[in-house]
Symmetry: C3
Subunit: 146 residues, 3 copies
């Protein structure tokens, strides 16, 4: 049974590693620009790194949750592929935002699109399961039989 | 087996959609009040929208986690019902907070109460399961037999 | 089957309770130091409590996710033990940070170490499962047979 989620678990670990990396980057930036906690304001260079990490942290739970719902109710392969793409987009977002506020935009749009695809696929999978449970229909099976 | 969690998955997707909606609202507010990242300060109208989204994001992982533990260990129906109520309370919180700091209070109390109910039910369910596993007791079964 | 995750669920509930406790502490600090939402700045005493809760909230999803992946793919006992240690470290972090910025450091390092142990164990477990699924190997079984 674990084989049906093992790739999701691998993507999840990569996601945690990415967030850990972003946190370390903030810690280095705090040292470099002498912004001691609890302060969170400083030169724009610091604030961009700081906000990049905050923004990625904010979206991380949404990402993980929708990754797993898609992987379990729609397809593990599709979810894992989108998951890797999302993590890559977030990496580029962090790098871009660290350099300039404008640099965050292109990867942000990409990460947003991947998230919408995952939301769409998870909704398809869950609606199909609800159809099976409550109406004894199986639309995905039906479609794949055409 | 998926039928035992399909409603939790549906509530989860709704939760992700709600958070996505809050994020879009912050993006619109950033444009409307010209608050460019990485800045997070501006007129109170902006700051209330901004904080409303941050606050909901902070509680989102707590909500999802306790929703699923309740749904799996206590009852899917009870968890899903509380879940919908919570999402509705958070929607009202966001709307209320966007209008005035005071407007956030009533829905915040409601969302807090729902969260406590979920914590209580999940604890009941988990304690019962622990009783079954470690003491071979089944209190919930016993109670429903009275 | 639930017996294989019931301890993870118990640690999860404790984690949610801890975060709820931190939130209440921020609410009290807001009253004590008269920092009304949406403001988040005030005397350093307030800002330390505020940031302590934000920092713990940021790491909470990472913690929960890695706790469950470790518990499911490596060992429930090891994951639960590390989980309790992490929650304790975070409690000390919150207390330490509330008193002084320096007071947060020792428990932060501990919580970081526990998180790295969990990341390592979860990676071992997931790689082993991948080996079983894709290469039909079982390294953990092999090692325990030596
Ligand atoms: N958001 C964190 C990310 C990195 C982190 O976890 N930093 C540690 C060591 S400097 C910390 O205790 N930060 C204090 C804080 O978040 O207020 C930050 O702003 O510092
Ligand atoms: N918390 C976010 C919510 C909305 C969002 O994700 N915004 C995008 C596009 S403006 C972003 O990159 N925000 C930068 C940031 O969070 O610092 C914000 O404050 O902007
Ligand atoms: N991060 C929250 C933690 C506690 C909380 O949830 N507070 C409630 C009642 S004061 C709230 O609505 N906070 C407004 C906010 O987070 O902006 C805070 O800063 O207040």
């Amino acid at each position: 049974m674990l084989d049906q989620v093992v790739n999701l678990a691998a993507v999840t670990i990569l996601g945690v590693l990415e967030q850990a990396y972003f946190s370390l980057k903030v810690i280095y930036a705090r040292r470099k620009y002498s912004v001691s906690p609890p302060s969170t304001t400083g030169p724009p260079e610091f604030e961009r790194v700081f906000r990049a990490q905050v923004n990625c942290s904010e979206y991380f739970p949404l990402f993980i949750v929708i990754l797993w719902v898609t992987g379990v109710f729609f397809s593990q392969a599709a979810a894992s592929f989108c998951g890797l793409l999302y993590l890559w987009a977030r990496f580029m977002y962090f790098r871009g935002y660290s350099e300039s506020a404008h640099g965050r935009l292109a990867p942000l749009y990409l990460s947003g699109k991947v998230l919408w695809v995952l939301i769409g696929l998870s909704a398809l999978g869950v609606l199909n399961s609800m159809g099976q449970v409550y109406l004894r229909l199986d639309a995905l099976q039906y479609l794949s039989g055409i």
